[in-house]
Structures are given as C-alpha cells and as structure tokens.
Symmetry: none
Subunit: 233 residues, 2 copies
DNA sequence: TTGAATTAAGGTTAAATAAGGTTAATGAAT
DNA sequence: ATTCATTAACCTTATTTAACCTTAATTCAA
C-alpha cells in the first residue's frame, strides 16, 4: 500500500510540483491550500505522514501540527518554511515536528527525509528479507519472530529467552559477516569482562542447538575474533 | 543517566565549543578528531547517538556511519557538514543517517535535533489500530476501555480492577516494546521495593489469564529487565 | 621449517543463584 | 459481605558462575 501524505501548502504552483513529484515516487498525496481545511482533511484521509507549510494565511503550520499531534501522538510531521530563523526551527520541534526543511529545498532531499521518517516511525531499520514479514527475519529455512521471540521451522515453534533472542538477532542481522565477540558482549551485557565472555559461549551453544535442523545455517567460530553467521542458500 | 554522544570533528576550535555546549545541556560527550579513532571509540564508549562530521582527513563520516550502523542498526546518527550539495544529503541518508545538518548551524537547532532523534529512537509505540475510539485501546482482538476498566472480546466483557487496569494500560501503551519492571513499579506503586515487586508478578499473572483468548497477544518476561508486550498482527 | 609443547580461546556440562510464576491466605476498604 | 490488594509460601525457569574438556593458535627446539 502506498504511504499517504497530507500536504498543506498555500502556494499553488509550488504545491502542484511537489505533489506530483511525490506521487511519481509512489506516495499518495492529498493537498490542501487552506490551513483551516487541514484538520478535517486529516481526519478523513488518515495519512502516515504530514508535510506542513508554516506560513499559511489563516492558521499556521505549527498550530496545525499541534492539533494533529494531539490526535495522533506518533505521526511524523515535517515542517516546510521559508523562514530561516533558528527560533522557528525550535518552535517547529516544540510543536511536535520530527523534521524541519527550509525553502528553497531540493525535492530529492525532501523525499529522502520523508523516507527516513517513515522508516524511523516504523521502528525497523534492517532491510526486510524475502519470505519474512515485518518483525520477522528469515534464517535459512527458519523464521525468527523478533517480537514474540519465536523461532519457527515448518510447524515447530521454539520459544527463545530474552538473551537467546538478543544474541540470535545480532547474528541474524549480520548474515555471512563476521561479528566481533566484544561487540556482542557490549551489546548484550554492556561490557566484555571475563565472566560475561564465558556466558556468551553458553548461549552460542544453545543457539546452535536450536538451529541444528537446517544444515545451511551455521555459527562458525573465529577464534580470537568472533563469530561468522553463515547462511548459505 | 546522561545520554552519551560520540562526536567526530576534526576542527578543534569548533569541536571544543560544540562539545562544551552539549555538555552544558546535560549530555556526556566524547570527541575524537581522527576518523580512524571513531570505531574504537564507539566500541568503548557505547553512545546513544553519533554526531559525525563528514569531511575528515583519513576516513570520512559516511564511512564511519556505515561501520557503526553495521554494529548497532538502530542508533541515531547525525551528519554534520559544510557541503551543501543535495547529493551529499542523499548520500548521508543512504549511509544510514537519521539527520543531516549543514554548517554553519545553530547550536540550539543541533540540540533540538538531537533531542528529537533520541526521543524517536526511544520508543516507537506501534501504530494505533482502527476499531478503537478515544478512551479505548485495541489490544489484538480485544478492546480495552481505559475509563470503564473493561476488556472486551467479541461479546464478552471482563471488568478489571484498578490495579489490573493500570498495569494493562502501561503495557498497552507500549506495544512491542520493552517496559522496565522498575518503571512499572514506580508508576503503579511509587517505589520498587521487594514486596511490591512480588505484587507485580501477581497482576501479570491475572492479565495473562484475561488475555488468554487471543494468542497473538502475549506478555513476554525479560528476566532481570521487565516485560515485552507482544502484539503481532 | 617442521612439529611437539605450550597457551589461550572457546565448548560443554552442571551446579548455584536470582528472578519470576503460581497459588492461597490474609488484610483493608467499601 | 464482598471485592480488591497485599503478603506469604512454595515452585519453576532463565541466567550466571564454575569446573573441566577440546581445539586452534603460538612458540620454540630440533
């Protein structure tokens, strides 16, 4: 489904160009030129992101942003303005903005920032792999659900503990790459002292046990360095 | 605890000013002037956010950003640069940047953007689901009425007690996120002494009982940390 | 330059600890 | 009286610690 963007802009020429550009990049855009029409349009359209010009005749963009934020605390909002005073940028952030772009801006930059915010709002950074939906990672024939801490193969479900899941996640985020031991220790235990180090060994063993069914998946030890999560298709 | 920021900047005068300003605003800052020192410093310092100058003599900020992103996929990264070409902004986002600030920048704006990103990175409360109106939260197939303390599934209504409702509310406000045990204890009981701690266990059990009907909803224990309210769609 | 000896790194297992789960009884408030 | 909240006792399990074993890397002698 195309991400929906609500765009409030009172300059019709600029607005038309931006709207068309965004549409050509795969967004569904609803534009309003009147600040007072923004909130009703929001309610009806239910966008994933709002792009608000600040300087509007009747109701300024900051006020609109605050209203929308009151309705939907987490929706990404980008303010768009000709003002270049720092004070306005600050006001933008205080009004609940997540980004603030000064006119004149480059369309490419605008699009990059939109993508960035939509991704941040989703919460998930890693590139999704085929065969696994959001919140899941494909690991060979397994599917690992990051939210429920479940490792599935065919019908079988293996519940993982928190530590097990953290470790598997780190490995799975770096398929066919070397992950340094101390980085894992830092991420899970916060330091890389001797005891935690032995602890990691224990969990590596557990994961190897869980992953035994699919021989294309392997945790390879690189002594003195770390681990290589090998996933050959 | 103060948020830690790793700051890579090769201009010592500018760097000193920025570092001190950030410190005066409650951040703990580690600055490095050498691009090659960035990654080791990152490993040791484990910051919550990275502030990377792009134009560095030996290794540029984008390369550093990519390395750091490989270690920690979710850490917010801000690029800082004198370049004003759009192409560089795009490159910045492609390298996994979450924001991009052009020099000369205002310190206040920088700080506002840092706060903004730290907040975004903190918690992504999942997208509120359709079918629940104001004062109600959708929890999987359930609907939870915050005012009447009622948990509904299809026709059935389960009345919750005050404590039960408080706890469910805290969890439901953070779907698919980790909530620290001590935060819950603080919010409900005002402290986190041993006895209240056992008390929480009792209420968690009760909620699990109420939520048993929908298997996509689960309260996952993270031993020593807290709970993860998993709501898979 | 081999190749045994040495050493460090990690594997394996099991025990200990701490954290939480479960259930029931007690106490407080309406 | 009844409901809800707290306390308590006992049970289960994740995590840590520890001990001992295996294997890879390094060293140094022949």
């Amino acid at each position: 489904m195309k991400p929906k963007i609500l765009y409030i802009e009172d300059e019709p020429y600029l607005g038309k160009i931006v709207k068309e550009s965004l549409e050509s990049r795969g967004f569904e855009v609803r534009m309003e030129t009147d600040g007072l029409a923004a909130l009703p349009a929001y309610r009806e359209f239910r966008p994933q992101l709002c792009l608000l010009d600040v300087m509007l005749p009747k109701k300024d963009g900051f006020a609109i942003g605050q209203d929308i934020r009151a309705l939907e605390p987490n929706i990404p909002i980008i303010y768009l303005t000709a003002k270049s005073q720092t004070e306005d940028v600050l006001k933008g952030f205080r009004s609940g903005g997540n980004d603030y772009i000064r006119k004149p801006f480059s369309l490419e930059e605008l699009i990059a920032r939109i993508h960035n915010l939509l991704q941040l709002a989703q919460g998930q950074p890693g590139p999704p792999r085929a065969g696994a939906s959001a919140g899941e990672i494909a690991i060979g024939r397994y599917t690992f659900n990051l939210i429920r801490y479940e490792l599935r193969l065919d019908g079988n479900v293996q519940k993982l503990s928190h530590r097990e899941a953290e470790l598997l996640r780190i490995l799975a985020e770096h398929p066919n790459q070397t992950v340094q031991r101390r980085d894992i220790l830092q991420r899970i235990w916060g330091d890389d002292s001797f005891f935690n180090s032995r602890n990691l060994d224990v969990y590596i063993k557990k994961l190897r046990g869980y992953l035994r069914e699919d021989h294309t998946v392997e945790i390879i030890t690189l002594k003195g360095v770390g681990y290589h999560f090998s996933v050959c298709p």
